[in-house]
Symmetry: C2
């Protein structure tokens, strides 16, 4: 029986590229594996797949009775809906330890680095398997995406060294330039419906019993949002109601200015003030230096809810 290698819901480039890279590695060491995905491929990820000549992994939502290797999270809210009926054989992740549990022993490759693909590179090294040129390209781009071209506070020296090694394998002369090309694609938001933008990189978190959704859009210049900000605000308010959420937050991240504007739809806006020591105006606030949802947005909010 082949295992399925799958990232989180609303897959980002780390989830998609990681599933492909890890499934290839598993097949090389004699464990049959198929990469899959839990949702649509983002324009950024599509750019990466096209650049290195890959099709998107198969869309597969149900895993009951199957063996699953989880990429890029350990959270039930981000896993397949029927994950409790599957057997989790492994996890590769770089986030806090979430609420997934298993009834059998498994392998977990979890490290406090900037990207799951940095850990997958460690796995290739551990098993002494050569990384094909095109897969090195996928992994490289996933790391550039997750670390915001090394600018994110989540970025570690392990990530930077990994990108250097992968760029050499992939034959990419200037990794940072490739990263900028990727973020330019990511910045093209015009003409996309508000809901699609909000959901492009959206994660739900259980914060002390309250459901909090946090979306993030990383662009090269926030001016791309000038004409659609009202639509985004209306949509996150709607999304909050639809999902019975306590809050929906949308981070508009300017990767050049290195900060994020947070749009807020919340049952209790004061929790934002408690978490980040800033006062929202018109349900919006500028968070200077904030690039990372995982490291700079989620932990203070979790503390505020605790």
């Amino acid at each position: 029986m082949a295992m399925y290698v799958v990232g989180h819901k609303i897959p980002d480039s780390d989830s998609i590229c990681g599933a492909i890279a890890l499934a290839y590695l598993k097949n090389q060491i004699g464990e049959a594996a198929v990469p899959t995905r839990l949702g649509d491929v983002s324009p950024e990820t599509q750019f990466i797949l096209d650049r290195f000549g890959f099709d998107a992994p198969e869309l597969k939502l149900s895993y009951a009775g199957e063996e699953v290797y989880i990429v890029d999270h350990t959270e039930k809210t981000q896993a397949p809906d029927d994950i409790d009926e599957a057997t989790i054989v492994g996890v590769v992740d770089h986030h806090k330890l979430g609420d997934l549990t298993t009834s059998t022993p498994l392998e977990c490759w979890i490290r406090p680095v900037g990207c799951s693909n940095t850990i997958i590179k460690m796995m290739y090294d551990f098993y002494n398997v050569e990384i094909p040129k095109d897969i090195a390209g996928l992994m490289l781009c996933a790391i550039l995406s997750d670390t915001v071209i090394f600018k994110s506070p989540t970025c570690t020296t392990a990530d930077i060294k990994c990108v250097e090694a992968l760029a050499e394998i992939a034959g990419v002369a200037d990794a940072k330039e490739l990263g900028m090309d990727m973020f330019k694609v990511k910045s093209a938001v015009e003409g996309t419906p508000a809901r699609d933008l909000v959901m492009r990189d959206f994660k739900d978190f259980n914060m002390n019993g309250k459901l909090v959704g946090i979306g993030q859009l990383e662009v090269i210049d926030l001016s791309v949002f000038d004409d659609i900000k009202a639509d985004l605000e209306a949509d996150i308010a709607k999304l909050k109601e639809e999902g019975g959420r306590h809050s929906v937050l949308l981070l508009l991240t300017d990767i050049m200015k290195e900060g994020s504007q947070m749009l807020i739809a919340s049952d209790d806006e004061s929790i934002i003030e408690t978490a980040y020591k800033v006062t929202p105006e018109q349900s919006s606030v500028w968070l200077d230096g904030v690039l990372s949802r995982k490291k700079q947005v989620v932990p203070p909010l979790q503390d505020a809810f605790a």
Copy 2:
């Protein structure tokens, strides 16, 4: 600030030896670490410490405000009582994924092998740190203990290879003979109070909301229990009541005959029949071929409770 490296409550040899071995490794790579323990050292573990010239790690029960590296489990019931007020910086484990969660990224070295110390050996290899002779001896004994000298179904080729490598470093000519010496010490149960025996290797599990305690005593010949079985039966019944547990099970494991007698104190004995397809008589049952609590006792019981 030094991190504390600590195994589970009612520490076994894997928890104690693993804490010492991992703390040494962490110090070698520039991360200050102190091994600690959550309970008394068993006669088996004391034999190992004496054999290789170590003192027991410091007994430390409270970790609020500290950094903690967890060894040999991911279960809240087996962790320090105030673990929620500590920062878990890492986990090394070989069991199913339990209910511990964190609010920050961490490292997890979890593998489906027979012993945490086999994984700690992988960590030494990863960081390219030489294992001192005496620490290799501790690690070696922990693996022989957890794998019941390679007889347990939890034992993998990784464990066997690891013992071979560690025996060479430790200068142990015959690892299996050392293992038998260790199990002879473990088999000396006469004169020890029943409660001490029951608690010697005892773990609580949350099974679908019910608390189930499972103890295990591994000996070379079950006849050592002939005169004290009634005391053990009375004690597990008492332990069940004291802790508000659904069941307390005590495995008397014969490592030469390769099977376990299970003594049962339960609110509903039929769950044992459901789990293991055998009918208890006088609250006791022989489980042929059963050596591993983790692999052969816990999963079927968890399924029966689900």
